[in-house]
Symmetry: C2
Subunit: 357 residues, 2 copies
DNA sequence: TTGTAGGCGTTATCAC
DNA sequence: GTGATAACGCCTACAA
């Protein structure tokens, strides 16, 4: 192939001018006579001239491009975050370039290094669960590459962090179940190496504590693959169901697991919330039409993306390197639907209970 | 700010060599003595040298970057497509840069023009419904910018087109409802200016024809905003429900509308499939846990993204400009669940019917 | 084996 | 008012 766009030089040649005169004309420099300027603009418009942004970037030493690192894009939460990122970036005339890690630390490393090599002016990153050593990222950051972490963050890099209030989200979900009268509340969650998993777990534990309920290790299940392997989630659920003292409710700690477990419970013909009540931790927009409608902790995904991008652009465009970084914690929302409401009358089929609202 | 990465010049200076010697060493040119080569590699590794890709791109006249234009990323179908695009691109060492049009033709124009100005080597595009004049895209394409269209395509640009078999998908969904015994089947779909809307409509009509059922104009509803405005969909549904001869089934023609209408039917306490049967046209992975489990036409989203990207990269890397373009139509899959199954016994609550499988 | 020079497209500086 | 020059970082003839 070879897509050849028209350049300043072409215009210069055609109009018998020097490239610099053309450049200045295009930038409406008042050094240039209005006739020349007009001629240049007309010619440029006629031949649909567009400045080559690669050359501009090289010259300016920046790319007007933001890199986004996430595990997957086909996931409610992340695609909503990306939506937020894109909207803010677009308003500030930045491009968004996306790479998926597929939860592999190697791909994470590769993607970040590639992006850092001049491709982007800064990074918005949600870390892999598997990633142990993020020294390379830290080093890039220390060397001046603006980085903002979100969702899956770490304390090992001193930069802005944007997270949902995972603690509060899990706390409220658990407390809600307690208030509904559930006593034996399990927690199925993601890999315990994730920052947000730990926060959600703490919220769950503290709610139990505050309610005077014991924390039972057996009611806590980590899914290392976070739902990538459905069998893992199924097995953890089975372990819970085989306990002599089965749970009467489950607080989910991850997006993908929420739908997975709901599906599995239904396949096992376990009534929700009759046999087991459930709260999800998902941004699925269709939770309302699940069977049963799923109570869920919703993260302010789009806002997280927006804020992360605003902070990043600020870092990029600030003259002096930032030294003070902030930790933003955005409120989650507990949306209560049928799946977590205690049935008042045992004879009514749970599925037939009217939805609130 | 100012993130300064190490350059070839830095290495040259440090090692008392010329930049070209360093460059050749890094490329393992055998012109260079192995000692020098080794020294350069060591120094580069130690200081974490990465070639500046902007400079490389300028020099090579390409960007190793693919532009993707879609209306929204927070949408099952498109995020699955992007997943496919990203996987193929990554394997061929291309970046993916994404822009959303939000169904605005102006943003579409802006994004495409920006991307075409050296930022990307080629485009994967799903067009806006609103877009009337795509001459500018056609011109870019004529000038040699590789473009592959998918999902929402047009005949006005002679290039590769990747679509799902929209006709067959709608045909099968309609025929399935007919076979279940439904006689009065409505069709709620997107803007009729979309290519895939027309194809789905044709499939719906042909199935009716083949089944010997009349096509009733009143049972056909277009939602111009395609579900962006829920009120529009609600109103169209209401119009159907107020007909003297109400439909007993609805074939949905769009992703977002599928969940919207399902939700609305439930809010109106209309039993599915008891009062009205429903087939969706959605890639929602959670359709299985909807209430009721939603029968749906599923598009091979990821495959579409993969194929589009393979074709695009081929166009980009081919020496001579392509002249012969293909129209790929990938098969859809009709997944049958409760929402479209004719209840055998009128006394059984439709929600309690066992799912198949 | 190494170094020099020119160019990719743009822009900023300085000279005319 | 216009043009020449150098630079951004890299690559690659070609020269030494």
């Amino acid at each position: 192939m070879g897509f050849k766009a028209i350049t300043i030089k072409d215009i210069a040649r055609a109009l018998q001018l020097s490239p610099s005169t053309v450049s200045k004309s295009l930038h409406n420099s008042k050094e240039i006579s209005s006739e020349t300027r007009k001629a240049v603009h007309e010619f440029a418009a006629k031949h649909n001239y567009k400045p080559n942004s690669i050359a501009q970037n090289l010259q300016k030493g920046r790319s007007k491009c933001i890199g986004v690192i996430v595990c997957h894009v086909d996931n409610n939460f992340f695609s909503q975050v990306i939506n937020g990122i894109e909207s803010v970036a677009h308003n500030s005339d930045y491009h968004v370039i996306i790479a998926q890690t597929h939860d592999s630390s190697e791909r994470e490393l590769l993607n970040i290094q590639h992006m850092a090599s001049g491709t982007v002016d800064g990074l918005v990153v949600s870390l892999c669960p598997a990633t142990k050593n993020i020294e390379y990222l830290n080093e890039l950051h220390q060397n001046g590459l603006p980085v903002v972490l979100f969702d899956r963050v770490t304390d090992n890099i001193d930069t802005h962090r944007i997270t949902a209030d995972n603690y509060r989200g899990a706390f409220e979900a658990t407390m809600h179940l307690v208030q509904q009268g559930y006593q034996h509340i399990a927690h199925i969650t993601s890999s315990n190496s994730l920052s947000n998993t730990a926060e959600r777990l703490a919220g769950y534990k503290d709610a139990l504590y505050e309610a005077g309920l014991p924390f039972d290790e057996e009611l806590l299940k980590f899914c290392e693959t976070g739902g990538k392997l459905p069998e893992e989630a199924q097995q953890k659920l089975n372990e819970l169901l085989q306990l002599p003292d089965k749970p009467d409710a489950i607080v989910m700690g991850s997006d993908r697991l929420s739908t997975l477990i709901l599906n599995q419970l239904r396949k096992l013909d376990i009534a929700i919330p009759g046999d087991i009540a459930l709260t999800g931790f998902t941004n699925a927009t269709s939770a309302e039409i699940f069977n049963p409608p799923l109570s869920t902790v919703v993260q302010p995904a789009s806002e997280m993306g927006k804020l992360a991008t605003e902070m990043l652009i600020q870092l990029i465009e600030d003259k002096e390197p930032a030294t003070k970084f902030e930790k933003f914690v955005l409120p989650t929302e507990l949306v209560i639907r049928t799946s977590s409401i205690k049935p008042k009358l045992a004879t009514i089929q749970p599925e037939l209970i009217k939805m609130p609202g």
